[in-house]
C-alpha cells in the first residue's frame, strides 16, 4: 500500500529510444499504458498487453525480462491465491458444513467440513472453528471465477491459538525471507521467535512478548523502506 517517492528514473517511453525501455540490466519502473517496445520475438508475461505489435504495460511496477518474456511486477497489489499457497485466514462465517475464510484475496475462500481440522458433525462447525478465529491453511483449488477452496489437512496446518499476527504486502515477502531464507532464519535466531510467513502476506509470530514486538518492528521497517521506489525486491 502506501508507497513512495524517490528515484528520478526518467524512462518515459517518449524520451528513450524508439524500441522502448527494454534494457534488462536496469530495473525500470513503468506505468500503465507505457510502451515497452515491439512485440516481435517477445512473449508477453504478466502485467503487459500486446497492442498493434507493441508491448504495453498495464500496471505500475518494475519491468523484468526473463529470456524472451517481458513482464511487469507490480509495486503494490492484492494477494491472488494460487493452488498450494500456505495462507493465514480468518473465519468470517459458517454454515452447517462450510466455513468462509478471509485470506486477503478479492474473494472469500471456503473450507468444507471434510477438509477441516477435526471430525465435525453436521451443524457443529462453530464448535471447532468459530467466527473470528485465525487458521493456518493451504489453498487447495482456485477456480477461474476466483472462488478458492482451502484445506487444513496437511502437516503443520492448524488453528492459531497463541502469538500475534502481522501483515506485509505480499510482494515484499521476498525481502523478508531473503536469499535462500537467510534473512528470515537470522531473524528467528536473533529474536527466538517462531515466525510463519504465509504467501498471502500474513505472518504468525509466536514467542516472548518483547521478542514479538522486536519482530514486528523489523517487519514495519521493511514495509517503510519499500515505500522508496527504486529499492529492489
Amino acid at each position: 500500500m502506501n508507497s513512495r517517492p524517490v528515484g528520478q528514473l526518467d524512462n518515459m517511453s517518449n524520451e528513450s529510444n524508439a524500441g522502448g525501455p527494454r534494457d534488462s540490466r536496469r530495473t525500470l519502473v513503468v506505468v500503465p499504458g507505457e510502451d515497452l517496445g515491439v512485440s516481435e520475438g517477445i512473449e508477453a508475461g504478466h502485467g503487459v498487453l500486446v497492442v498493434d505489435d507493441r508491448i504495453i504495460s498495464t500496471k505500475q511496477g518494475r519491468m523484468s525480462r526473463k529470456g524472451n518474456t517481458i513482464s511487469v511486477d507490480p509495486l503494490h497489489t492484492r494477494y491472488m491465491p494460487r493452488p498450494g499457497d500456505l495462507v493465514i485466514g480468518h473465519i468470517e462465517g459458517c454454515t452447517n458444513n462450510i466455513w468462509f475464510i478471509d485470506i486477503g484475496a478479492p474473494f472469500n475462500s471456503i473450507l468444507p467440513m471434510s477438509l477441516g481440522p477435526a471430525k465435525v458433525e453436521f451443524g457443529g462447525t462453530r464448535k471447532v472453528l468459530d467466527i473470528g478465529d485465525s487458521i493456518l491453511c493451504r489453498v487447495q483449488e482456485v477456480e477461474e471465477t476466483h472462488q478458492s477452496v482451502v484445506t487444513m489437512k496437511g502437516m503443520g496446518l492448524r488453528k492459531i491459538r497463541s502469538g500475534a499476527l502481522d501483515e506485509l504486502d505480499p510482494h515484499l515477502l521476498g525481502r523478508l525471507i531473503g536469499k535462500g531464507g537467510a534473512f528470515l532464519r537470522e531473524m528467528k535466531m536473533e529474536t527466538d521467535c517462531r515466525i510463519v510467513v504465509a504467501d498471502n502476506g500474513r505472518l504468525w509470530i509466536d514467542g516472548e512478548l518483547s521478542n514479538i514486538l522486536e519482530v514486528r518492528r523489523r517487519i514495519n521497517s521493511i514495509s517503510s523502506e519499500a515505500r522508496v521506489v527504486g529499492v529492489d525486491a
Partner: protein, 238 residues
C-alpha cells in the same frame, strides 16, 4: 455559464485574470500513497482544487446482485467536502455528485481490465477538499493515478482537462471566475498514449472552430499533465 455581463476576464495583452495565457494550465502537484490503509491513493492539487482519492479492491462485490459474472464493477463515489467551497455544501450525495460519479465510473471502465476480476468490485472514493473549478477533471485524473497506485491493471492512464470560452476567447483550464461567468465549458478525458477519448461533456455554445481550438488545448494540456502523473507514479518530485 452565468454570462459575463461587463466582467472583463481577458486583458488587452490577452492575459487572463490570474496572469495565464489562454493555453496555460494551473500549477499541479501529484502525490501517491497518501492514504496508508487504502490499496492505492492519490492527492492532486490543481490550482486551488484539491482532491484526495482512495482505491480499495478488487474485493467481493456486495450486495451480490451487483456482481457481474464476467467482470468486475467499479463503484465511484465523488463527494465534495462541506468546507470545500465558500458556501457550505450540504453533506451527502446530491444530483451533481451522482452525475459526476457516473461519468467518472464510465470513463474508468474503459481503461481498467475488468474482465480479470470477475464478480468483484473496485471501490474508488473521490473527496474534493478544496474546489475552484474543474473538480470533475481533477477527480478523474487523480482516480486514474490512484488505480495505478493500487496495482489495478489498466490499458492507459486517463488525463482530464477542461477548456472553455471567456469573453469570446477560447481558454484552457478554466478557473472559478471563468467557469462561473464564461460562455462555454468543455471537459475532456484523454488517453495520452493512444490518443483516445473516454470522456466528453459540454456546457454552453462553441462554434466548430472554437470547439476545435478547445479540443487542441485539452489534448496539449493532457500531455503535459500526463508527464507529471508518470513522474509521481515513478517516484519523482514534481
Amino acid at each position: 455559464m452565468g454570462g459575463y455581463g461587463d466582467v472583463r476576464m481577458i486583458d488587452e495583452n490577452g492575459l487572463r485574470m490570474d496572469g495565464r495565457k489562454p493555453g496555460d494550465v494551473r500549477p499541479i502537484t501529484i502525490e501517491t500513497g497518501v492514504v496508508p490503509v487504502a490499496d492505492g491513493s492519490c492527492r492532486m492539487v490543481w490550482g486551488t482544487n484539491e482532491a484526495i482519492v482512495a482505491v480499495y479492491g478488487p474485493m467481493e462485490a456486495h450486495p451480490r446482485k451487483i456482481q457481474r459474472q464476467d467482470r468486475a464493477v467499479i463503484d465511484v463515489a465523488y463527494n465534495m467536502a462541506p468546507f470545500s467551497t465558500t458556501d457550505r455544501i450540504r453533506p451527502g450525495f446530491n444530483r451533481r455528485s451522482r452525475e459526476i460519479s457516473k461519468v467518472t465510473k464510465d470513463a474508468l471502465e474503459s481503461v481498467v481490465l475488468l474482465e480479470l476480476y470477475p464478480r468483484s468490485k473496485i471501490r474508488v472514493s473521490i473527496e474534493i477538499v478544496s474546489a475552484e473549478a474543474g473538480t470533475r477533471c481533477v477527480g478523474l485524473t487523480a482516480a486514474s493515478v490512484a488505480l495505478a497506485d493500487a496495482g489495478i491493471p489498466m490499458t492507459d492512464l486517463i488525463v482530464s482537462v477542461a477548456s472553455g470560452k471567456v469573453n469570446d476567447v477560447v481558454v484552457c483550464d478554466l478557473n472559478k471566475e471563468e467557469d462561473n461567468y464564461g460562455e462555454a465549458d468543455l471537459p475532456m478525458g484523454v488517453l495520452p498514449n493512444s490518443g483516445e477519448l473516454v470522456f466528453l461533456q459540454m456546457d454552453g455554445n462553441l462554434s466548430p472552430e472554437e470547439f476545435k481550438q478547445a479540443w487542441d488545448y485539452n489534448v496539449d494540456a493532457a500531455m503535459e499533465v500526463h508527464k507529471l502523473m508518470v513522474k509521481a507514479l515513478k517516484g519523482g518530485d514534481n
